[in-house]
Symmetry: C2
Subunit: 121 residues, 2 copies
């Protein structure tokens, strides 16, 4: 391993959207519904995870920091290493009422919930 | 203006895709065909610009660094401040033959063409 060589594997946003999301135990956590792009710097502000309605959550959507996700390009799935139970209490929003993206307080809470510092801090 | 307050306005990848691209003179430069996501860090590796076939370019696609783009959310367009002529010689690829995304040499040339340093350097 050298540190200066980086492959920078890239995938299109369209390919990532609708990809199934699982945890490391193989439990279904839903799918990538959307990628929100921070216009000021071209970073993913957060990914939007949608559930298939289990856990009684119904149509709630969840904001997930990109760092919490890893993409398995071989099996074409995204790994989010949390239990289904953790998602029950996770910061989410109604699919018909997306957050105001300028609300950084809300997004800070999202990052903290998954154990990450906001990328702009 | 304070430096610590940032709005971090975000737009969904799906909204950005298909948005028309113009230069500051208002000339049509095509549309956002795709956003390529660097899986290692959740940054936009490059945006893919497609033309409507003018300039004799046909189905060529162009890779554009995100920094070269600015999003006008009011008029729902993306600004790329280059002349149509500059695009004639810009690094591009055939729509049926996308670049190997691990080829950072190619991507360095893309960034240099528009006057930017690669985001990973």
């Amino acid at each position: 391993m050298t540190t200066h060589y980086k492959t920078h594997q890239a995938l299109s946003a369209s390919t990532l959207i609708d990809t199934p999301v699982k945890n490391r135990k193989g439990e279904d956590l839903g799918k990538i519904e959307e990628l929100m792009i921070d216009l000021s710097n071209g970073r993913i502000s957060y990914a939007v995870l949608s559930f298939g309605g289990f856990l009684g959550i119904g149509d709630k959507f969840f904001a997930i920091p990109w760092e919490a996700l890893s993409v398995d390009t071989v099996d074409e799935k995204v790994i989010l290493d949390v239990d289904q139970q953790k998602l029950e209490n996770a910061p989410g929003f109604d699919k018909d009422n997306w957050p105001q993206t300028a609300d950084t307080t809300w997004l800070v809470d999202v990052y903290k919930y998954y154990g990450y510092d906001p990328y702009w801090s």
